[in-house]
């Protein structure tokens, strides 16, 4: 039965990790780049639309892990949304394949301004190990310029959170 477990959980300490703190220089650098308009409009929350531009699905596993009880993405005011029309951030993973380039551009066009582009994972940064393939254009920047890059193969949920929280704080500050 689920009820005894729920009751126990109400009385026990949360399993959630202590919050991550981004490095100050990352926050400062981002603060300079982001328009003040964003802060006025968005306050302290960001809606994220994830786009897989051709990944091996390793990055997707770690993006999923952001939502588990240990990382608990939503306590920072961050949440994944189902449509680019609701998004402030496009979180792009994977090398940009030729077969996905048009879909990514259409997704960007459907995202209202201001929108920030985050390239997560080595492949999204510059194509990663798939750089130079006939089927791959390179990193996300081959289609749209990222505002923030989060390297790693795949980046850990903690690294992704650091990047996203930095974006949030730079935006709010």
């Amino acid at each position: 039965m689920l009820w005894p477990k729920l009751a126990r959980n109400l009385l026990s300490r949360p399993r959630t990790d202590p919050p991550v703190t981004p490095r100050p220089e990352v926050v400062a650098a981002l603060r300079d780049r982001l328009a003040e308009a964003g802060q006025r409009r968005l306050g302290r929350s960001l809606a994220i639309r994830h786009v897989d531009a051709g990944s091996c699905n390793g990055c997707e596993l770690e993006c999923h892990a952001l939502g588990n009880v240990a990382h608990d993405l939503e306590r920072y005011g961050l949440r994944f949304v189902a449509s680019p029309r609701h998004a402030d951030v496009l979180l792009v993973t994977g090398p940009l394949t030729r077969n996905m380039a048009e879909a990514l551009l259409r997704c960007r066009a459907a995202t209202p301004e201001p929108a920030w582009i985050v390239a997560a994972g080595d492949c999204a940064v510059d194509g990663g190990v798939f750089k130079g393939s006939y089927a791959v254009l390179g990193g996300v920047e081959e289609a749209i310029m990222p505002d923030l890059v989060i390297p790693g193969c795949p980046p850990t949920p903690t690294h992704i959170l650091e990047g996203l929280v930095a974006l949030l704080e730079a935006n709010a500050g």
Binding site: M1, L2, K5, L6, R15, H50, V51, D52, A53, G54, S55, C56, N57, G58, C59, E60, L61, E62, C63, H64, A65, G67, N68, V69, A70, H71, F80, A82, S83, G94, P95, T97, R98, N99, M100, A101, A103, C107, V129, F130, G132, S133, Y134, A135, V136, C153, P154, T156
Partner: protein
């Protein structure tokens, strides 16, 4: 003609551990309905079509080739529906035309690569304007289409689903894949197995250990150098850990797609504990790039073993409770039981591996073939629906824990890796990943570099079965069915 008789008609090559037989045209055509053989894969090389089968009775892999100097070969799809996607990809990548093929539409090639047939001896210039994808039709009063993707509403790989729907009921579903085609095979050609291993590790990230291990075993077989015992044991333990964290993921996400968040949260928590232990033990949460041709990239120390065993013990203690919660909520059962059924006729026609096959009653696990597990130890929830696939994963998670525990408790001492000699050879391997059997076939040239290869994810046979299982269900149940099958996009897109 029986499998054994067919094989005596051709010239065997020195592929290890199972020879590859070069057949003539008549014997190849006989493969369309040779009894006792299940199709594993069909792929190409310049001037050749290759096929891999499982010989069910002899529990061995059968490799067959047909020279195709004119760029044509008789299709196997007239007798084997599982060959359809392979043949479409074969044409896209190697420009070999399957004669009498059931389906001649492009698959991985969307008309966006600079060259057509990028893996063929002479790629052709791409046609300037690719015709739009022609989806299979469905006709009848009130039938309408729902196009979904390639970008889906969740955190998931890209692919296009075309539903034909009558009211709420799915009449036909077709998945168009290829969006994540990265040219993985082409990047591996001409490299040493060690240098190419990072691409096998990224064929499908969730199966990074399984594909790395299949590739490593095939390269080791080709070079005639088996991995040392300690490396073999660490790799086998990693394979079970990977199976476990993925099964936990699926158990949670299937429940989540039925809006039952508590199981999802609990499975996510248990899985996170395992990933952290894996990070402590191997320096990488998903254990990527830790399996190498010749052995393993790093040792597993006592602290790492202790971290892993701690995580395994916590999961083992929680597993029975997960099943009790699953079984005691009618709202959950109502969504699972009888949903997305893969009927016995389709199971037999496609012979899918892994959880999808076993949960439909097909008793095959590559660990039995490799002597790593007894056939009678394999659970079989044979109903073929979402419920059977959930229960099958739950049962197999328990077995993965027991196997990982046993391996970690008795790691032999010795070297971690052996160098592979720079010499020619050919090897094949079949490794049971969490989705099913991963096949790798590698041919090395005289310098020990990769001359030809193929990596096959079990999802090749799961995607067409997902399309079939969705028919007759309501659209709202599709995410549930899709999650319970959990095909890899990247693994098939190559």
């Amino acid at each position: 003609m029986t499998a054994a008789a067919l094989l005596t008609t051709g010239a065997p090559t020195a592929c290890a551990p199972w020879p590859r037989v070069v057949l003539d045209r008549a014997a190849w055509i006989a493969l369309r309905d040779a009894p006792g053989l299940d199709l594993l894969a069909l792929w190409g090389a310049p001037g050749f079509a290759h096929a891999a089968f499982l010989d069910r009775a002899a529990l061995r892999v059968v490799l067959a080739s047909l020279p195709a100097p004119e760029g044509r070969f008789p299709a196997l799809s007239p007798g084997r529906p599982g060959a359809v996607l392979f043949e479409r990809a074969l044409h896209d990548l190697w420009r070999l035309t399957p004669e009498e093929a059931v389906d001649a539409r492009p698959f991985l090639d969307h008309g966006r690569w600079p060259l057509a047939g990028p893996l063929s001896a002479r790629p052709a210039p791409q046609a300037p304007e690719a015709p739009p994808m022609a989806f299979l039709p469905a006709e009848g009063e009130g039938v309408h289409q729902i196009p979904v993707g390639p970008i889906h509403a969740g955190i998931i790989e890209p692919g296009h689903f075309r539903f034909h729907v009558q009211g709420e009921t799915i009449v036909r579903l077709e998945a168009r894949l290829g969006y994540t085609h990265k040219g993985t095979l082409s990047l591996m050609l001409g490299k040493s197995p060690r240098a190419a291993a990072r691409f096998a590790a990224r064929l499908s990230g969730d199966s990074t250990v399984a594909h790395s291990l299949a590739f490593a075993r095939a390269a080791e077989a080709a070079a005639g150098v088996p991995a040392p015992p300690r490396a073999a044991a660490i790799r086998a333990a990693m394979l079970e850990l990977e199976r476990l964290h993925n099964h936990l993921n699926d158990l949670g996400f299937i429940a989540n797609d039925a809006a039952f968040a508590a199981l999802h949260a609990e499975c996510g928590w248990l899985r996170e504990g395992l990933l952290r232990a894996q990070h402590a033990a191997f320096g990488h949460r998903l254990m990527m790039d830790r399996v190498l041709p010749g052995g393993v990239a790093q040792d597993l120390d006592a602290a790492g073993v202790a971290a892993l065993r701690g995580a395994l013990a916590r999961i083992a203690a929680a597993l029975p409770g997960l099943l009790r919660i699953y079984e005691s909520h009618a709202s959950l059962q109502d969504r699972m039981v009888g949903t997305g059924v893969i009927p016995p006729a389709l199971r037999d026609a496609f012979a899918p591996g892994g959880v999808v096959g076993r949960a439909a009653g097909r008793a095959f696990d590559a660990r039995v073939l490799n002597g790593e597990m007894a056939a009678e130890a394999m659970p079989l929830h044979a109903a073929g629906d979402v419920d059977a696939r959930w229960r099958q994963r739950h049962a197999e998670a328990g077995i993965a824990i027991a196997r990982a525990e046993a391996l970690l408790a008795a790691l032999p001492e010795g070297p971690l890796a052996l160098p592979l000699p720079a010499q020619g050879g050919e090897g094949v391997a079949l490794v049971e990943g969490f989705r099913g059997e991963c096949l790798a076939w590698v041919m090395l040239d005289d310098g020990g570099l990769i001359e030809a290869l193929y990596l096959r994810d079990p999802s090749w046979l799961h995607w067409p079965l997902l399309e079939a299982a969705a028919i007759g269900n309501i659209v709202a149940d599709f995410p549930l069915i899709n999650k319970s099958v959990n095909g890899s996009y990247s693994g098939v897109d190559l």
